[in-house]
């Protein structure tokens, strides 16, 4: 799994400086919620990038911007190197979504209860002009086959309420696959499912990555599942992506103090209860209040004056590994100086 990061030269989908501010409140008292600030990420064919963070960290907002459900406040979204944010209108959106599809968390509300499974899969084929004359039935069957809902004819004639959560999420995946996308953005695709069937869905998506070379963004709060499924992991805190790199490296050797805190809190029967975060009493900051500095500064045990004044830039720790934290800035500088001299 690990070598895949180096093999992919051209990102399929890229976010540059992606920022989203929501303005809420009343006419007299406006609040700006800084949901996402300066997010950068690249998705490559045949590779899964996980975006890990707790609720409210902005991870779903990034996915929704990438699929063009939310208009970014600033920043760029590049598909095959071209900024697509300028493309307006239904036709352009349809064209974009034939390449970039999304799978949502809730398989119970994302399917229409009065339509059979067949109708759910025919619809994208027809809308996107992928339906072949007289072959529609076969195409639907083939999609169901790909997500292992067999016998296919039987499943095609069912209604959503006749399926289990895992089976519904398979339908949602089949529906996304109908347009033959190159990128799938999966927003917490397994967190509402029973534990025994989560793996089946993750394994199915891993198969699609490997066999169809699909680029995945895997949005999750469960860092253990990111380790299982994702080649690369990005960690988000209060609207900022604070660390990124090959999943195994990030998880075994976290650098950013927030990533360290997060990992120490994940239940781990091998280590037991008494290790970890006893002294941390902090809470995620109010996103209407986050200022110019690092959002983790109020909770960080290594906090320095500069952390409150300015968000640290990206420190490249190794070829595929980076963080945004002043603790590592001079380390990197020293190493650069050492390399130059």
């Amino acid at each position: 799994m690990s070598s895949r990061i180096n093999d992919a030269p051209q990102p399929l989908l890229e976010a540059r400086g992606l920022t989203k501010h929501f303005v809420t409140g009343t006419a007299l008292r406006r609040y700006t919620v800084r949901a996402v600030q300066d997010a950068n990420l690249k998705l490559y064919p045949g590779r899964v990038t996980a975006l890990v963070g707790e609720s409210g960290s902005g991870k779903s907002t990034i996915a929704r911007m990438l699929v063009r459900l939310y208009e970014p406040t600033s920043g760029e979204i590049l598909y095959e190197g071209r900024n697509i944010l300028g493309d307006k209108g239904r036709k352009a959106l349809l064209e974009y979504r034939s390449h970039v599809q999304m799978i949502f968390q809730d398989p119970f509300s994302s399917l229409n209860p009065v339509r059979r499974i067949r109708a759910h899969l025919e619809r994208p084929l027809l809308i996107h002009g992928k339906a072949k004359r007289g072959k529609l039935r076969e195409q639907v069957n083939e999609l169901l086959e790909r997500v292992a809902l067999t016998p296919v004819e039987e499943f095609a004639d069912k209604f959503p309420h006749q399926l289990s959560g895992g089976q519904r999420q398979r339908v949602a995946i089949a529906r996304a696959l109908a347009v033959e996308p190159r990128v799938i953005l999966a927003d917490e695709p397994v967190s509402m499912l029973d534990v025994s069937i989560r793996l089946g869905i993750l394994n199915l998506m891993a198969k699609l990555r490997d066999e169809q070379n699909i680029a995945f963004l895997y949005v999750t709060h469960d860092i253990a599942s990111a380790r299982y499924f994702a080649d690369e992991t990005l960690v988000m805190y209060a609207g900022r992506i604070v660390e990124g790199g090959e999943s195994e490296q990030v998880i075994q050797n976290p650098k950013h103090p927030y990533t360290q805190l997060l990992l120490s809190a994940v239940p781990n029967p091998e280590k037991g209860l008494r290790t970890g975060v006893t002294e941390d009493r902090g809470e995620v900051p109010d996103l209407t209040q986050v200022g110019v500095g690092c959002p983790f500064a109020p909770r960080c045990k290594h906090v320095m004056d500069i952390c409150r004044r300015e968000m640290p830039g990206v420190t490249q720790l190794s070829a595929n590994r980076w963080t945004r934290c002043y603790l590592y800035e001079d380390v990197a500088e020293r190493e650069t100086v050492a390399a130059e001299s």
Binding site: M1, S164, S196, A224, L261, V277, V284
Partner: protein
């Protein structure tokens, strides 16, 4: 200030012997009488909880674990009915209690913390009012004394007592859940039932709260029935664990033993359904198929349609009994029973 409200005196005199179970559940059967038919959500479930013990119940949604929590506190509402079995608390049969006896029993002896509890706080009452309500309903004390006790409880669960006049919306989810735990502790119960107490919370907050509960337990010595679908958390936190599938306990054993060597095929596969943050990165299989619809449960062993090691001609016909397979350890599986019998012969 009244002496019963100082921190030291939170300790109730515990008269119950430590080597006798505090809670005994025997052959409990709970049914939901629905339009689609009768669902036996809890089927012949037996287990004990000893003083100062944490017993965990794990299983997937619909396996009956929450129904057990509600049965113990007699909070089940129609269409759910307890149709058989016994639940004894310190020797007293809970199922025989009248409504007014129950009012004295809940909170006083057994408290319950639910997953959605943090959203069950009354939004128009301050934290102070909600905690003192519980105290003043059960104890003859003045408002001032009750408030003093409420401040003490907030301190105990790690909330600044000066926030006592806050309203629920002014607190984060984690703090609201701490308030609910404070209310559960208010009358110093012997048993606290926690049904997914941290599931709605972020993992860092979950860890803070679990550690808080752990240290409170060490201080006050109550028992916990801890219910969650998160096996990793359960193994970390519990002394003993019962694994439930489709309304039945299929395995019950000390947490460390279940973690090291699960015996029931369902337990084993369930363990193998959790990616971890340490150890080898291997392909995990999960469990093929889905949990059964309990309107028409599978014949024989309810796990047999999903079981990769089922014995043809046996498992689909005969429901396995929960049998001792070692000291302090039980499992309900024909294959395990056979293995144990073989070992005993050799």
């Amino acid at each position: 200030m009244s002496s019963i409200f100082t921190t030291q005196s939170i300790q109730k005199t515990r008269s119950h012997a430590l080597d006798r179970p505090l809670l005994e559940v025997r052959n409990l059967e709970v049914e939901y009488w629905t339009r689609r038919g009768t669902v036996r959500a809890v089927d012949d479930v037996s287990f004990d909880i000893y003083p100062n013990e944490v017993v965990g119940l794990a299983g997937e949604s619909g396996c009956g674990k929450s129904t057990i929590a509600h049965a113990i506190t007699r909070l089940l509402k129609p269409p759910a009915y307890i149709v058989g079995g016994e639940i004894k608390f310190a020797g007293q049969d809970i199922l025989e209690m009248e409504e007014d006896e129950l009012r004295g029993f809940r909170w006083e002896h057994v408290a319950i913390v639910l997953q959605s509890a943090m959203n069950s706080l009354n939004p128009v009452l301050s934290i102070r009012e909600q905690i003192t309500d519980v105290i003043r309903t059960h104890r003859q004390v003045s408002k001032k004394e009750a408030t003093e006790r409420a401040r003490e409880l907030l301190q105990v669960v790690g909330i600044d007592p000066n926030r006592i006049n806050s309203y629920p919306h002014q607190l984060s989810g984690g703090m609201r859940q701490r308030v609910v735990i404070a209310i559960a502790l208010a009358l110093n119960p012997e048993l606290i039932i926690m049904d997914e107490p941290t599931t709605a919370l972020d993992v860092v907050v979950q860890k803070q709260i679990i550690q808080e509960i752990q240290s409170l337990r060490e201080r006050f010595g109550f028992s916990i029935l801890f219910i969650t679908h998160d096996l990793s958390l359960l193994v970390e936190f519990s002394d003993r664990i019962g694994i439930m599938y489709a309304g039945k306990i299929v395995e019950i054993a000390p947490a460390a033993e279940i973690f090291a060597a699960p015996k029931h095929p369902y337990t084993e596969r369930l363990m193998n359904s959790f990616p971890t943050i340490s150890g080898p990165r291997q392909t995990l299989m999960g469990i093929p198929g889905s949990p059964p619809d309990l309107v028409s449960p599978p014949s024989g062993c309810r796990f047999h349609p999903r079981c990769p090691v089922k014995i043809e001609g046996v498992c689909e016909q005969i429901s396995p009994q929960l049998l001792a397979i070692g000291p302090n350890r039980m499992a309900a599986c024909h294959l395990v029973a056979e293995e144990v019998a073989d070992e005993q012969q050799n």
